[in-house]
Amino acid sequence: MAQYDFKKITVVPTGNDLIDIVLSRTQRQTPTVIHKGNAISRVRQFYMRKVKFTETNFTDKLSKTIEDFPRVEDIHPFYGDLLHVLYNKDHYKLALGQLNTARNLIKRIREDYVKLLKYGDSLYRCKSLKRAALGRMCTVTKRIGPSLAYLEHVRQHMARLPSINTGAPTILICGCPNVGKSSFLNKITRADVEVQPYAFTTKSLFVGHTDYKYLRYQVIDTPGLLDRPLEDRNIIEMCSVTALVNLHAAILFFLDLSGSCGYSISQQAALFHSIKMMFRNNPVLIVCNKTDLQTLEGLSGEDLKLVMEMKSAALDVLLTMSTITDEGVMAVKNAACQRLLDQRSERKMKSKKMPTVLNRFHVAMPKPRDQKERPVCIPQAVLEARAEEAAHEERKTEKDIENENGGAGVYSASLRKHYILADDDWKLDILPEFLDGHNVYDFIDPDILQRVEELEREESAVEEDGGDFEIEDEDFTAEAEKDLQEIRKRKKLLIQKHRIKKSTAESRPTVPRKFDKDRKFTTERMGRQLSSLGIDPSRAIERARSRSVSRKGRKRERSVGGDGEDEMEIDGGLDNKKKLRLRSRSIEGFKDSAQKMKAVTMARNATKKRNKDARRGEADRVIPTLRPKHLFSGKRSIGKTDRR
């Protein structure tokens, strides 16, 4: 009486897949590391665990499969027969049996090898034993490979079987191929079965559901039957036969009056009589389909007689309909459902429980007090409101205008039309935003003209006033101007010279003035400078020349020669001692003054050239090359090069 669900069967793995699954589980879920240095008991334990684990996994998986698949004997005979028809009961049982055997074998293997492992004396021996055990288990599994494949195939097919509730009220449709069974199913239920002009379009059972008097009915569509003995029937026909035989349902036998299915009425009648046996207690209805092509009245005498025979066998229930024109379809359905319902309620009535149920409830109808009529009452206001609603005019909204003018993308609503302005012409004015780099909005002011006038007045007032009182100076005279320019020029030159001197001070040796390399310090120069200052230079030049060393001679000479009148005179008379000292000091190291003269001359000549050249040397703190190439180019072997 239950709804069978064959979809819950777990997937059956193939032989190799099963081996992979179990072995990889063993590898992952058991410890993997063992050394031969470990205690032997530990080694044994390690390998025993692996063997046991593998066996457990195999057994679990096989057991699951065996239990999931239904036993043919235990299920409803309809399904039992269906399974037999589709998959061959024997083959099915054999496959499951093989799985069972394999399971037992694996168990036996595990027992044997665990016993052996208990006495393994080395790691290598234990390991070999474990390998042997696992190998044997895998071989067993490989052998049942084909059975597993078959069972998987069966499972997939079973999952797609129509779920028929064997206890629910059912309507079964049968008849010759192409009479219109599937079209009828499509009409009364929401099933969408394929309808084609060739025979055996429907190859298996299809279920639809329909409602009648608050009860849900199953409608089963079967493949067409041919008039053959049972042994000759193929699998598809056997499906429908199974359904006929095993299910308790109202049977609708379909007749094609026109013969467009390819079978004449006599053939169909023959079929009916041959399967009559299978109907047993089920209510039967003969349904004549395709009346649009051939009505019952228009039948020939013989055919009519055959039909009447069938009708009598079916307890005088004959209906006509046409699935294309929908004529009589509902009537047929209702009739079938009603027949079933009647039968069921009859049975229930007859059962022992019925009186107890009947006793439990009682329907009470109130007696009318008087004959007054009491109709529906609606208040007047409500009626008026309803009338007003109906007559209410629709206001035209902006949305409507938008839709009229082309929709959202085409029309853009004018937001300006509701502006409140002094003059309506201004509504569509374009507002300037800026002018000459100023925001117009910042200047808007109703009194702006006034303000502008004020400003202009201010400006003109200021202009009339004129400038402030200044302290007036007399400008310089032309001469004073000229002098000022001169002064400034002179100052600039001084500064420039000083700067040059300063910058070159470090890099040039300061040659004392007396060497006068460039012949700058001459009396002519002095004379020029003095005359530019406005002084007559002649006297100064004279004096300078008279006092020059070349003219006057050297101090020492004069003293040696004893002609130093000036000094001598100033000092007064010299002592003899002084004279002696002077003399000896001055010609120290030399024979006489002539020799000294010569030596002095030679020394002077030697230094003259050097001084004249006045060249830079290392001591002069000069950088000979400011940017040596080796510092400013190339990569470094160590360090960074982002600064040079």
């Binding site: 800026f434 003209l449 400003l455 302290i471 007399e474 000022l484 200052l533």
Partner: protein
């Protein structure tokens, strides 16, 4: 469309230029170019950065801006016309006044320069003319006179009255 002013340098930002920065307290900072933006990010105070208008106004180098009114007015075409005409005039007046301001600033410089020139002439005359020459030529060089506007002479009567 509005012409905004740069927060940092107070120059006008035309459409399509600059960056706007919105702070978490919803204050908007507008910058005319990345120079101002970067200065802002460095947290520099525009009142201390010499080339900004804020500095110049604060230190009296430029004329201060007048406050703008923020009252919205209903649109009136005539007012708009007048405004457009007035903008030009106002602009000119503003421009002139700003120029005036700057000219005023420069005025004392001329007097100062003259004073300094005079002093220089006195002190450094020795660079071009020797003192002997000056002494001999004295009458030729004249130091220019300074004229000061004298206050009105108090008449005797006034003086008496004061006393």
């Amino acid at each position: 469309m509005r012409l905004e002013f740069c927060w940092f340098c107070s120059s006008k930002i035309y459409p399509g230029h600059g960056i706007q920065f919105v702070r978490n307290d919803a204050k908007i900072f507008r910058f005319c170019r990345s120079k101002c933006h970067k200065n802002f990010k460095m947290k520099r105070n525009p009142r201390k950065v010499k080339w900004t208008k804020a500095y110049r106004r604060l230190h009296g180098k430029d004329m201060t801006k007048e406050r703008k009114r923020n009252r919205p007015e209903r649109y009136d075409r005539n007012v708009m016309e007048n405004t457009l005409k007035a903008i030009k005039k106002i602009d000119k007046i503003r421009h002139d006044r700003a120029a005036d301001h700057i000219a005023q600033r420069w005025k004392p410089k001329a007097a100062k320069e003259r004073r300094e020139a005079r002093k220089e002439l006195e002190q450094s005359i020795s660079l071009i003319k020797a003192p002997l020459a000056i002494q001999s030529q004295e009458p030729a060089i004249t130091v220019p006179k300074i004229k000061v506007k004298a206050p009105k002479q108090q008449t005797v009567e006034d003086q008496l009255m004061e006393e």
